[in-house]
Symmetry: C2
Subunit: 476 residues, 2 copies
């Protein structure tokens, strides 16, 4: 193994990916294989002897690629987007090539410092409150996923309430407190909130959102009063900006006021929609963010930064360090008081040099380029709306206040069962890929603009497919 | 952005890394910067306009590289190694270029299937018990870090004991149970066990290891009896193979027997040392693994697979799925009963195509090549022992039964304070980098063979530096 092998094999790999991107449109969007397909194709044991790199590359098309569901095919409209770009891939080459593990400042100062700087850049681009900047008591950290951000926020909040309650009652145990603690989120919140509650052992109450799928302060206030009357201790709420089923926005202002009054920790999960806040015209959706203790969104969804890069902001980092500080000698260093050690802000100890991805992407596209990317996806979603609106068999449902890159629709005046059959027919057709959602007892179809290659012609194609499949289904 | 940009910019990036690898020996091993250095060098805001890729590359040497602590410098002997190789970097290019998010089988079948296959390859190469193979009730999964593996194992164990105790007492609450639950690990276990206990709200008792830093069954049996007498419920133990301070190996056989008798879940953390088990001559250290419910080690430490790749094996995957199953409609798919969905086995929902790294590395080096790599590091550690043994001012301490790539030493018959001054003098000298540990009230110096470039001449150099710095210190 040497530097030359990196350059020559790396070049082969880049060519393979470039060719993949060029051919992606022609590939079936969803993998057309059966469970177990790959085991038939690969040996049962690892090879004893080294093989050439070209033999690996040669096997890719016959083994791996048939089993790929192409998230970057312009015919992929499922879930939410996941980001990809050549600068992010290049940044990962550098991250892999340096291969430092930046768990503390001294373990590679640039790794910690670049993260603080680009997270500040991002906060400023989104016009986030100043208390989220690293120059104050808060700061930004790159987590792996929004799931981890929710867990970390919940942990800090649990630690804070435990400390407070223990002052009132020194005999209090964590278990006794846990049986009283209750956290809230909307019935539209992501499943990762369920899992965070489950891991930390906290009761979770889902607040029924209104008919627009929006959770509001008054609903929470009622829930809090009921729960306090039961002897429970409300202490944490996850507000979602851009829910997974319909991209609904919880009402931060009224929720935030309740949190302030009732001493609840408000964590904001803006995993997908948060990316749009780099565009000034969407920043009004952040009104109320000033009530949040923590805020998170995923540049790895929609800001051209490859997975994983989940941007989390803390208002007061001491809550996190308090909750998480375990400090053996082999991790101590002389600069601990003057530089942040991100290991206290996250679940794992080890960490990649992920901020390079953000830095490379910011510089390669500029904020202007990133805004243009977001706006184009939103414009494509609007284009789809303009197409489907002309067909009065369909209705657009749960239109969020701000229409981003997701469109939810269904056959008007039709049963869930018929809509489910439509979804199934579309996916069996295999030309485009959508996933459904069940919202307010309504089965809906979700079309999310996902691919960086997506253009009007693809959206038109998607609509043509939907129209054809619908015609066929309804004529059966 | 297009395919051509990926190829041309990627090639520039690869050249930069190749040049970095060629020059790494000449760079100061520990970053020689002060906290805040990078903020002086970068703008306070993200650029509005796109910049050329070459301008980014041009800035790397002046901004990022001075702030790197070079984990792959052959003069780096701190912590434990972190892995790096050109096939793993190439695999990451492919993973980034496909950019699928394999949270469920359908989201990219190859992503799930390749993971199951290469984890089976790895289990077979290590001669792990058959129940850890994916073809039975268990299976392997790639976690991000050993920290996450411990949390996931603890969660599954907590879920199992809660279910069992709830059968006995249907009014039991999780909080009430948590106040009774107790988990065990050695006083030598990694800080990530403390953090897992903290997150899940479980009491942790550290078992005092013996004078060789080994935890044994009889010590745990005593602790369990004491704790049961106090009304506590022992249910989980982390046994470590290759502790961070001294690479000690807990006695799996006696611990395992106690776990079986007392119905405790044994999780094995072999983060570093586990890599050596691909060599048959070290597999005897796995004796007793058959008592484990879960087993974990990090190929990203010592098996040429770049971070992150933490290999975790489960004996019975239903415990994990039970603990973690949250299943909204948008994640359901038709193949759920016939293919594993790794999202139920891990904390995050999203996941990269990390198994490509293992696959590329297995094929590029062969098991033979990987074994040679491990053996060479162990041989270099032995070479250091041969050098230091000739100087009777030093003693090798806490020699583990199996000497892997770590050597612990100190000035013989000397105070902790003097050894601390030696460590400080070595790191102030800046030619090599070590971290200390405090074990059994003894301050010790750790020399871990870390770099893939490390050779006898570097180890000789390290010893020369240690000798010189010691001479100077002792003559002061």
């Amino acid at each position: 193994m040497d530097s030359d092998a990196l350059v020559s094999c790396g070049a082969m790999m880049l060519q393979f990916v470039a060719e993949y991107w060029r051919s992606i449109e022609k590939r079936p969007v969803v993998a057309n294989v059966q469970p177990g397909y790959l085991r038939q194709l690969l040996p049962a044991q690892a090879p004893e002897q080294a093989e050439s790199f070209s033999s690996i590359i040669n096997d890719l098309e016959s083994t791996i690629m048939p089993g790929i569901t192409h998230w970057h095919s312009p015919n992929f409209y499922a879930y939410f987007p996941t980001a990809l770009s050549y600068p992010a891939i290049c940044a990962d080459i550098l991250s892999g090539g340096i291969a430092c593990i930046g768990f503390s400042w001294i373990a590679s100062p640039a790794c910690t410092e670049l993260e603080a700087i680009v997270m500040d850049w991002l906060a400023k681009a989104m016009n986030l409150p100043e208390f989220f900047l690293s120059t104050g008591n808060g700061g930004g950290i790159i987590q792996g996923t929004a799931s981890e951000a929710t867990i970390v926020a919940l942990l800090a909040a649990r630690s804070r309430i435990f400390k407070e309650k223990k002052t009132e009652d020194p005999t209090l145990t964590l278990g006794r407190l846990l049986d009283q603690l209750i956290i809230y989120c909307s019935d539209q919140a992501h499943s990762s909130v369920d899992r965070a509650a489950l891991i930390l052992g906290c009761r979770l109450r889902k607040i029924t959102s209104d008919s627009d799928c929006v959770m509001r302060g008054e609903q929470i206030e009622i829930a809090i009063a009921e729960d306090r009357a039961q002897g429970l201790i409300p202490f944490f709420i996850v507000a979602t900006l851009g829910t997974t089923p319909t991209c609904a926005f919880d009402d931060l202002v009224t929720i935030g006021r309740v949190c302030e009054k009732e001493h609840l920790w408000m964590h904001i999960d803006a995993a997908y929609a948060g990316n749009a806040f780099i565009c000034p015209e969407y920043q009004y959706l952040l009104n109320g963010v000033e009530y949040a203790e923590s805020f998170n969104f995923n540049p790895h969804k929609w800001m051209l930064v490859n997975f994983d890069c989940s941007a989390m902001y803390l208002k007061d980092r001491t809550h996190f360090i308090d909750a998480f500080n375990v400090d053996p000698l082999y991790l101590k260093h002389a600069f601990q008081s003057s530089a942040p050690d991100y290991r206290h802000w996250q679940i794992p100890l080890g960490r990649r040099f992920r901020s390079l991805k953000l830095w490379f992407v910011f510089r390669s596209f500029g904020l202007d380029g990133l805004r243009a990317y977001i706006r184009k996806h939103i414009q494509l979603a609007n284009y789809f709306i303009s197409l489907i609106s002309k067909d009065n068999r369909f209705e657009i449902v749960f239109t969020a206040a701000a229409q981003l890159g997701l469109v939810c629709f269904r056959l008007k005046n039709s049963s869930n069962e018929l809509n489910e059959r439509l979804l199934k027919a579309l996916n069996d057709d295999k030309r485009i890929y959508l996933v459904p959602s069940m919202v307010k007892q309504k089965y809906i179809l979700r079309l999310a603009i996902c691919s960086w290659l997506a253009d009007e012609k693809h959206v038109k194609f998607a609509w043509d497919v939907i129209e054809q499949v619908t015609n066929k289904l309804l004529s059966e």
